[in-house]
Structure formats: C-alpha cells, structure tokens
C-alpha cells in the first residue's frame, strides 16, 4: 500500500510539473504578451518598455523557472488588471468555486448512482431503458443552456430562486444542478455497467445461494465492488466540474475562480490566467491521486498487496 501510494505520488508530482510547463508555454507561445498588454494603439517603444518592465525580454526558460520558483512559494505576481496580487485574488474567489463544485458533485452522485444501480438491477426492463434514454438526452444538453433554462423557469417565471450571485445558499441551487447535470450520464453509465458486471459475478451467486436477502445482495455484495471505479470517476468529474464551472459562473454571475479566469482572459491578464490554469490542474492531479489511494483502500486486493 505504501509503495503503491509513493508510486502514485511520484506520477502525480511529475504530471503537475509537466502541466506547469504547458500552462506557461501555452500562453507565452500563443502570441506576443507585451503587445497584448500594451494594447493595439501603443507605439513600438511602449511595447519595448512593457517587455522590459515585465521581464518578458529574458529567455523563456529563465522566465519559466522564475515563475515556477515563485509559484511554488505561492507567489503568482500581480494582476495586470485588478490592482491586486494574484494570490489574494484567487484566495477570495476559490471558495465559491469549490463550494459550487462540491455541491454539484454531491448532487450528481446522489442522482446518478441510485439510477445506475436501479437500471442494472432491472436490466432490460423499461426502467433500464428510461435511465439510458435519460443519460443520452442529458449528455446532449449543454450546461449553459440548462443553466439559462433553469433561470427562465425557476427565477424569472416562478420567482423561487435568485437569478445571479453567490451570497446565500439559495444562489447555489440552480448553478449546482446545471453543473452537476454534466456528470450524471457518465456516473450513471459507469454505475450501471459496474453493477451489471458485478451482479453476474460468481460471488453474487454464492451470496444468493446462502439465502441472503436481495437488498443485502445488491447493497452489501454488489455495490461495494461496483462502486470502486465510480470513486475514481467522481474524482475526475470533480476536476472537470471545477474546470467547467467557468461557464456556469458566467451564466449565474458567480464571482468564483472561473469567473475570475474569464475576466482575466478577456483582458489579457496573463498572471491570473496562468495561475488559475495551474491551480485547477494541480487540484485535478491531487484529486486523481486521492482517487487512486481511495481505490487501493477500497479494494483489499490492492490494499494488502
């Protein structure tokens, strides 16, 4: 278990490092940052001055190492636009995004796992077919369309919930549904297929031959084994949700990390964009690492290996 954890940790760290390289070079190679900062009407001299002022005239590798060294010490420099340090900007925004992501994940699991189990237990029946149709249709609805639709129905027409913002728990309901929706089809299909596979396993027959009650067969013997891959998927989906929350935050005007990134991209505020990309990617890497460890813990064949 320890060796396994260490091995996963090394992979996670090196992926995080590679991502930092990509995040840095992606932005630096896509265009001339100095021109972007200076604006379209600036003179070449102004551009040169900005280039020097932000250290953009140094070799890229030097710039990268400088950036990485500071990033490791939680110093992402100053925002070009917001007149604040990137770290304090992120610190003030990340809470909204994490809350939104966590609620969304919870919502999607609460809907998708039971639905997948139900579909597997009633495999081939109308329940199964309804669940599958639901997942196919669900996959086709873009999150921002769903978000707008929810606003129109519940905020504008019924006036039950606020349209935008993130100040009370009520503000989180609609965005969480819209964001959580995205993960439901994938989680549902994986739970269903996992349950189908497990339900046809020999040890399920053994349990039934013992005379164990059907509910115990499904929840103790089958779900326990089928849920293992779902845990990994949930971690991945949480990462996707944090990344994808940019769209939902824009729809609902929630000032989270995604909204910050959106504003920063639109204003060529590169330090902020780089930092947000790196942080989201690092969170994703951390999540998949935790999922690997959780998997190993849930599966005695890995835990005791």
């Amino acid at each position: 278990m320890l060796a396994y954890t260490m091995q996963r940790l090394i992979v996670a760290l090196s992926v995080a490092f590679t991502v930092s390289v990509v995040a840095f070079f992606l932005l630096h190679l896509s265009g001339d940052i100095a021109i972007s900062i200076a604006g379209p009407e600036s003179t070449p001299a102004q551009v040169e001055q900005i280039r020097h002022q932000f250290g953009l005239d140094r070799p890229l590798v030097v710039q990268y190492l400088d950036w990485l060294w500071k990033a490791v010490h939680f110093d992402f420099g100053n925002s070009f636009y917001f007149r604040d340090t990137v770290v304090s900007l992120i610190a003030s925004r990340i809470g909204v995004t994490l809350t939104l992501g966590a609620i969304s994940l919870l919502l999607s699991l609460v809907v998708a796992v039971p639905l997948g189990v139900l579909a597997a237990v009633y495999n081939g029946t109308i329940i199964d077919r309804l669940a599958l149709s639901f997942s196919v249709i669900g996959q086709a609805i873009p999150t921002f369309c769903l978000g707008l639709g929810l606003i129109i129905v519940f905020s504008v027409t019924l006036r039950w919930l606020p349209v935008s913002g993130a100040s009370t728990w009520k503000h989180f309901i609609l965005p969480s549904i819209a964001l959580g929706w995205y993960a439901v089809p994938a989680v549902m299909r994986l739970s269903r297929n996992g349950m189908l596979e497990v339900l046809s396993a020999d040890y399920i027959r053994t349990a039934r031959a013992k005379g164990v009650a059907p509910a115990v067969v499904i929840f103790k013997h089958a779900l326990r084994n089928a849920i293992i891959p779902v845990v990994a998927l949930a971690a991945v989906q949480f990462g996707f949700m944090l990344g994808g929350s940019i769209v939902i935050e824009a729809v609902f005007s929630m000032h989270g990390l995604g909204y910050l990134a959106w504003e920063a991209i639109a204003r060529n505020d590169f330090p902020v964009v780089q930092a947000v990309v790196l942080i989201l990617a690092t969170i994703y890497v951390g999540l998949t690492f935790l999922a690997d460890v959780a998997n190993a813990f849930l599966d005695p064949r890995i835990r005791l290996a």
Binding site: Y203, R205, A207, A209, K210, V212, A213, L304
Partner: protein
C-alpha cells in the same frame, strides 16, 4: 418420502435463434443421507439442473416441472421469501470456481458468519465460534487468523474448503456440489472429495454431486444419473450402472477412462465420435442417435425409459438390439 423429488424438470432459454432446450424432462429423487451423482459433459444441463433446484437460474431461463418437492415443500409454488429461507439453511451449494465464488471485498469471517446470521438469530460471537469450528473441521489450520483474511490471500484449495465450511454453517439437509474439484490441482481434488464424503456421512446430509468425472462417481455415489444434451439417459444405483452400463452414451463415457486392472496396458482409450447437438429448436427422439452405433429409424420417435433391472432406468429404445450385437 424422498428428501428431494424432481419430476420432469424442463429448462428453456429463449434466444434470438429460437428456444434453447437446455434441460428436458429430468427426473430423479434423493433420499436423506444419500449421494446422487449427476454425470455429463459440459453443456449437458447438469449445472442448470442444480441451479433450478436452488431457484438460482439466470433470469432469462424458464423453469417448469410436474413436481419439485423438497422435504414436502413444493418449490414450484413456494413464495420467494420462503425459498430464500430454505437456501443456505436447509439446502446449500458449493460451486465450481472457488477463485471467483468468494466476494473479494469482504473477509472470510464476514462471509462465513453471514451464512449463519441471515438465517438464525445468533450473536456475532456465536457465529464466529461456529465459523472457527467449521474451518477447523474442513482442515484449515489457524482458523482464527483466517477469519480476518481476504479471499485473494488464500489458495484455491483453501478457498474451496472455505466454501464447504460456508455451505455447512446452517447444518443443511441437502448439499449440492457443482463440480467442486474441477478447478483444483489433482492432489487437492482427492482431499476435497474425501472431506465431502466424510462430512456427508458425519452430518447425515443428502448430497448431489455434479461432475463429469466417472472416477469420482464410483468412489462416492450411491446413485447415478447420466445426462446427455439436457436429458437423463440412464439412472440407477451406482453399483448397477457401473456393473451393467446400458446406454450407449454411458458405455462410451466409461470407455474413455482407464480402469486399473480392467483396461489392458497400452490399449487405446475410447472416444465418442461426433459432437453434441445444438439444443435450439425442437428436438425429437434420442439426442444421441447421430453419434450412436446402434442408431435405427425408431430412435427418431418417442423416447421412454426401459428398466433392465429394478431401480435401473435407461432411456433407449434399442436395448434389445444392443444385447443382440453384444
């Protein structure tokens, strides 16, 4: 009254290509304390027959019978909840694949005690004591330590012993062992069989032993039913069947195994030519006739059992012709 009475058991499986007649009109009885061996090659319907008794058939399979009684209870009409109470407590089953028949997520102890606690209102401590007692009885050393282990930490032979212990937790009247030794090493096969035979005698259980190994049958069975293509072709006391095998298929099977003292050294072992027929669609007549040396036009007609000696039934209409040739 027989402990288990099976009359005309039929198992149909609808497929896209037509109905698969997996088991057709199988009948046998098992008395208390008796061992019935069901013999046949894979696909002959012997495993499905045992699953049908336990009501563990896959959902697609359809079960019919004129009688299916267990200790006076009609298993055809019994409510699912009552059936579940019989399973594991009064009739238990041991499966073919010890490697995959235990749940990888739970300890041996958890799975053993569950077998007892889902039927009898016993405390955790009592269940644990019973599990240790049985693990020791099936020859597992360090039983207390084993209770905390997971299936993947045990060898195949040990796992099958655990499966046997699990089947015995509630002191069943009938134990069905579906090829309990097939997946194991040859040396371990003999140990497991001996253990099963001992336990059966000790606990006065009835046993249905499903196997394709006639050597095993000769050692442990009181009665034999030979199955071919979903039907019983010969049944009777083990003594009678081995002494005077009367169905061409049974004889073919017996010719396939060397018998010390009877098979001459270096003599070629027999083989049955041809293949098992496709069981999809309606089958009329004797399913073995395309591989049989004695086949005649009447073999395509209605089949019935002949009784050469009392208690020995053969599903063949050409017994007289066979005798003439022999």
């Amino acid at each position: 009254m027989a402990l288990l009475d099976v009359q005309d058991l039929v198992i149909d499986i609808p497929t896209a290509g037509g109905v698969l007649h997996a088991v057709s009109e199988v009948s046998f009885t098992v008395e208390r304390g008796e061992t019935l061996a069901i013999v046949g090659e894979s696909g002959s319907g012997k495993s499905l027959t045992s699953l049908a008794i336990m009501d563990l058939l896959p959902r697609v399979a359809q079960r019919r019978a004129t009688r299916l009684n267990f200790d006076g209870a009609d298993l055809l009409t019994i409510p699912a909840r009552q059936m579940r109470k019989l399973r594991g407590s009064r009739m238990a089953m041991i499966f073919q694949e010890p490697m995959t028949s235990l749940n990888p997520a739970y300890t041996i102890g958890n799975q053993l005690t569950e077998a007892l606690r889902c039927h009898d209102d016993v405390g955790a401590e009592a269940a644990r004591a019973r599990a240790i007692e049985l693990l020791e009885r099936v020859g597992i050393a360090g039983a207390e330590r084993r209770l905390l282990q997971y299936p993947h930490q045990l060898s195949g032979g040990l796992r099958q012993r655990v499966m046997i212990a699990m089947a015995l937790m509630c002191k069943p009247d009938l134990i069905i062992a579906d090829e309990p030794t097939t997946a194991l090493d040859v040396t371990i096969q003999a140990q497991i069989l001996r253990l099963l035979a001992e336990l059966k005698k000790e606990l006065n259980m009835a046993m249905i032993l499903i196997t394709h190994d006639l050597g095993v049958v000769a050692r442990v069975a009181d009665k034999v039913a030979v199955m071919y293509a979903g039907a019983v072709v010969e049944r009777g006391s083990a003594r009678a069947v081995f002494k005077a095998p009367s169905h061409p298929y049974t004889r073919g099977l017996l010719n396939c195994i060397p018998v010390p003292g009877r098979t001459a050294p270096g003599a070629p072992l027999g083989a049955i030519r041809g293949q098992v027929p496709n069981l999809i669609g309606r089958l009329a007549g004797c399913a073995f006739r395309n591989r049989c040396d004695f086949a005649a036009p009447e073999c395509a007609g209605e089949m019935h059992f002949e009784t050469p000696t009392p208690g020995h039934d053969v599903r063949c209409v050409r017994l007289a012709a066979q005798k003439a040739v022999a």
